[in-house]
Symmetry: C2
């Protein structure tokens, strides 16, 4: 089973990268098979159609978010600490193998209607979790005169755009990028503590993630199952 999960993760990552460079429509299953050293028949063993592959990989991407971003922070009582840890986790996922996969989620409008709706529900649950945490911070006095939905959308705008610009070969290390984005997004934009209150980041979640090897395959707990 573990070997199958690793192979699937390889397929998802390769397909995501090709989709981002060539576009979903212009990519064939044959090209994806070639990129992961499978025959076309070998890939058909896992997915009968490109749309089925897309649905499965988008669910995998959302599984990664649940597993690496949300689940580890759910029980942090202070919403401000929860925001910091969640942001560090999310940024780390994007800088790891999650960047291409994250961008692929946008293609879910190409899915069949019921599948597209299912993906939308999962994205909505993630949005609601982030929005709820920001609302809790506002209830503690953060974000005066600021609309919580706008703040939440701005949060996602910053992080999702990272999937477009982040390169591992950039001038800043991964830890420095994460620290800057937490400072900009949480401490400045959401909590307004940027001035005069240099906040020492707690990187415990980030370190835990590194130990968990985010590039290794992760067994989805709610992805599609292949029809048997």
């Amino acid at each position: 089973m573990q070997a199958r999960q690793i192979r699937l993760a390889n397929i998802y990552n390769a397909a995501a990268e090709i989709f981002c460079h060539k576009g979903y429509d212009a990519t064939t299953l044959g090209e994806i098979a070639k990129a992961v050293n499978l025959t076309k028949a070998g890939l058909y063993h896992y997915f009968q159609t490109k749309e089925e592959l897309l649905f499965s990989m988008v669910n995998y991407a959302m599984d990664l978010v649940d597993y690496h971003v949300i689940d580890p922070v759910r029980d942090i009582p202070d919403p401000r600490d929860r925001l910091r840890a969640m942001t560090a986790n999310y940024v780390n996922l994007i800088m790891g193998n999650g960047g291409y996969l994250t961008r692929t989620i946008d293609e879910s409008r190409r899915l069949q209607r019921t599948r597209s709706r299912r993906v939308q529900r999962r994205r909505r649950a993630f949005y609601d979790f982030v929005r709820g945490t920001i609302q809790e911070a506002k209830d503690l006095g953060a974000l005066p005169d600021t609309n919580v939905s706008m703040a939440t959308l701005s949060f996602f705008g910053i992080i999702l755009y990272m999937a477009e610009w982040y390169r591992p070969t950039g001038a800043l290390s991964r830890a420095e990028v994460a620290e800057q984005i937490v400072r900009i997004t949480v401490d400045r934009m959401l909590l307004g503590e940027g001035r005069g209150l240099p906040h020492r980041l707690n990187f415990y979640e980030l370190d835990k993630l590194r130990d968990a090897r985010p590039n290794a395959a992760y067994t989805p707990h709610s992805g599609v199952r292949k029809r048997s």
Copy 2:
């Protein structure tokens, strides 16, 4: 000439909307012609290929940025006021007809290499203008311990994501959305004045823009010219 510009703007806007919904690769020139009530031959009169149309419309989108976002603020001496006005202008452009066009700029990687490079240079010039203004604000004491490039990319992340989520039918009016985004992006994230210093927005640029009818056709000063 004016009629030609209006017709071109209509083609760009219709094509951008179709590209966003169907994807660039899956869209045909025939579909675009139909959307603007032209025959296929009528559209060919303007563009021989889809790639030529894409190049022309991306340049038009960048023209809109120059004309509506950058040019009106160039001479504002205080970088903080320049940031506020520029952000209000940019948000207003995205909420107008600029949303689909902005998203289409991402497709410029499908262009021929020399054309793609030309678009990249224009995007880079815009980025450099924003980054330079943020650097000036930092020199005045804003953004302690914050990397200016990261702050600039975060700025673009928030605004570009608006093109994905903004709907004219949303709960907030256009002016309210603009005010919120300026507060979140500039006053909180970049200048850190969100707490205790409610900043009254100066909407002079926004009002000027409304008068200038951003939905009307704009004569590009650096777009492609049709080969004669």
